[in-house]
């Protein structure tokens, strides 16, 4: 059994390059909003966005505002917390804070767009889909991710992607967001230790 992946401490990481700056994030999200609008059929309006806590939830809020700006009906905005659905809860990691799962309307028959910041192994999305299944039976679930860094461990594919980045196992992608008190930025870092 391979040990669970643990995010390396910041001190062990060295900056490789910037993937997106603040303007880049804004531009990318605007394009993603338009693609989401294209991907969700007319009969499934208003669009139902559901962010994966915590990064994905902030991005879902931004996408919701962008969709409204683009003339869409105000999207439904929910958030899922996957802490209780992780497949590594008891594998030696400190337990994450548990946030609330908030869904503004029942999921039954809806087309739900899951939003996450970084798509990596696919395990987070697997857990998020399990959360949704416990709340109802959506007609369809779509996936939008700001960054797809590859290296999937489960058969999960995004429908809408901001930026696709080739990464190695030693690298890590960090999405910094103003909502967390940081300057908007996406960077690729590598473990030095």
């Amino acid at each position: 059994m391979t040990p669970p992946r643990q995010p390396p401490p910041d001190s062990d990481l060295t900056l490789r390059r910037e993937i997106l700056d603040a303007a880049g994030i804004g531009r990318t999200l605007r394009r993603m909003a338009l693609e989401i609008a294209e991907r969700v059929p007319q009969e499934a309006r208003p669009i139902y966005l559901c962010g994966v806590r915590t990064g994905g939830a902030y991005l879902a809020q931004r996408l919701s505002a962008l969709l409204a700006e683009a003339g869409e009906a105000k999207p439904l905005l929910g958030a899922v917390d996957i802490s209780l659905y992780r497949d590594d809860v008891f594998r030696g990691l400190p337990k994450p804070e548990i946030g609330p799962t908030e869904l503004p309307e029942p999921l039954d028959g809806r087309t739900v767009v899951l939003v996450d910041d970084v798509l990596f192994t696919g395990r987070t999305i697997r857990a998020a889909m399990d959360v949704l299944a416990d709340y109802g039976r959506p007609q369809a679930v779509k996936l939008a991710a700001l960054i797809d860094r590859g290296r999937r461990e489960l058969p999960i594919q995004p429908d809408v992607v901001g930026v696709t980045v080739e990464t190695t196992a030693r690298e890590s992608v960090r999405v910094m967001l103003a909502e967390r008190g940081e300057v908007d930025r996406v960077v690729l870092r590598e473990r030095v230790a």
């Binding site: 209780l84 337990k95 709340y135």
Partner: protein, 316 residues
């Protein structure tokens, strides 16, 4: 990140105010699961929780069982009458046998104070004290604090009355530890025969006061917690009869009017209607007794989540 420095939950005495607050915060997160269409999360899949209840209990045992099941753990219940203790096996032998079946958590209720602690020292499983004699009942204190905090938005500086059979009450002891650690002041009201020694010393100086009549304790109180008169524990004549007790210590609307207008009324159950609490109060708008029960499940989910299967640090 949620780290909890204890392998067992034996009492409130050993916890810090910060640790109690951590448990209360985590309990809030689990409340919402009871509102879902599917009231279950997969978190403790494959974990085993044994409820070893060697003393009568419906509410607490059911609450722990539901908490375990909502987290997808396998819950096994053993009650006094169905266990080998009636065949003469000691508690420790029973528990060692259960431990050999590799449960992750053993929830134990026993008539002897210290029973849970004794098991915790000898078992591999995490141990939760669900009531040991007149010693402690930590999850009850947690659900009481959770209920008070939800209604009053704070615990610090609140005036909390605990009235009734303090002497035989593990609930009162756990509540005293927890409430004073969280900054509340506790007014104990009971006939002298139902008091226990050393209560004032359980909180910081001045935080615990003793009253031999209920009225002065009630004046300006934020929370009124009535305890059950434990008929099964009262062997001798500690008070003349339940009618007289009710006349002097029962909570009725007239007495409740002495407390703050927004005071809440609590009771750990089961209620002796008409003895320690008047039915119009127990069913009235100030009573939060059923809210206590709902929060009990969430708090116990939080406790099982923290104790089942280790916390921070590699388990191997």
């Amino acid at each position: 990140m949620t780290g909890f420095a204890h392998r067992h939950l034996l009492g409130m005495e050993a916890l810090t105010g910060a640790e109690i607050t951590q448990l209360l915060d985590l309990g809030e997160r689990f409340l919402e699961i009871a509102e879902r269409p599917i009231k279950k999360v997969p978190t403790l899949r494959g974990k085993t929780v044994i409820n070893l209840f060697l003393e009568a209990s419906t509410r607490t045992r059911t609450s722990f069982e539901i908490a375990a099941k909502r987290l997808s753990a396998d819950a096994v219940n053993i009650s006094g009458s169905s266990s080998s203790t009636v065949k003469g096996e000691t508690l420790l032998d029973t528990a060692r046998n259960l431990d050999a079946m590799a449960p992750d958590v053993v929830v134990v209720r026993h008539a002897q104070a210290g029973a849970a602690e004794m098991l915790a020292a000898r078992l591999r499983a995490g141990v939760v004290n669900a009531g040991d004699g007149a010693h402690e009942h930590p999850t009850q204190a947690l659900l009481d604090c959770s209920t008070i905090r939800a209604h009053k938005k704070r615990l610090e500086g609140l005036e909390v009355v605990i009235c009734g059979d303090i002497r035989h009450s593990r609930v009162a002891r756990s509540d005293l530890w927890a409430l004073t650690k969280l900054g509340a002041r506790v007014r104990i009201a009971a006939p002298r025969t139902l008091l226990a020694p050393g209560l004032e010393a359980m909180g910081p100086p001045g935080s615990v006061t003793i009253h031999e009549r209920i009225e002065p304790a009630l004046e300006g109180a934020d929370v009124v917690m009535m305890l059950r008169i434990q008929k099964e524990r009262i062997g001798g004549a500690l008070f003349p009869n339940t009618r007289e007790y009710s006349r002097y210590f029962g909570l009725n609307p007239r007495r409740l009017a002495l407390a703050k207008p927004d005071a809440i009324v609590m009771h750990p159950g089961p209620i002796n209607r008409g003895i320690e609490i008047d039915p119009t109060v127990a069913d009235g708008p100030r009573a939060v007794i059923l809210d206590q029960v709902s929060r009990g499940v969430a708090i116990r989910m939080a406790v099982l989540y923290l104790l089942a299967g280790g916390d921070a640090g590699p388990s191997e």
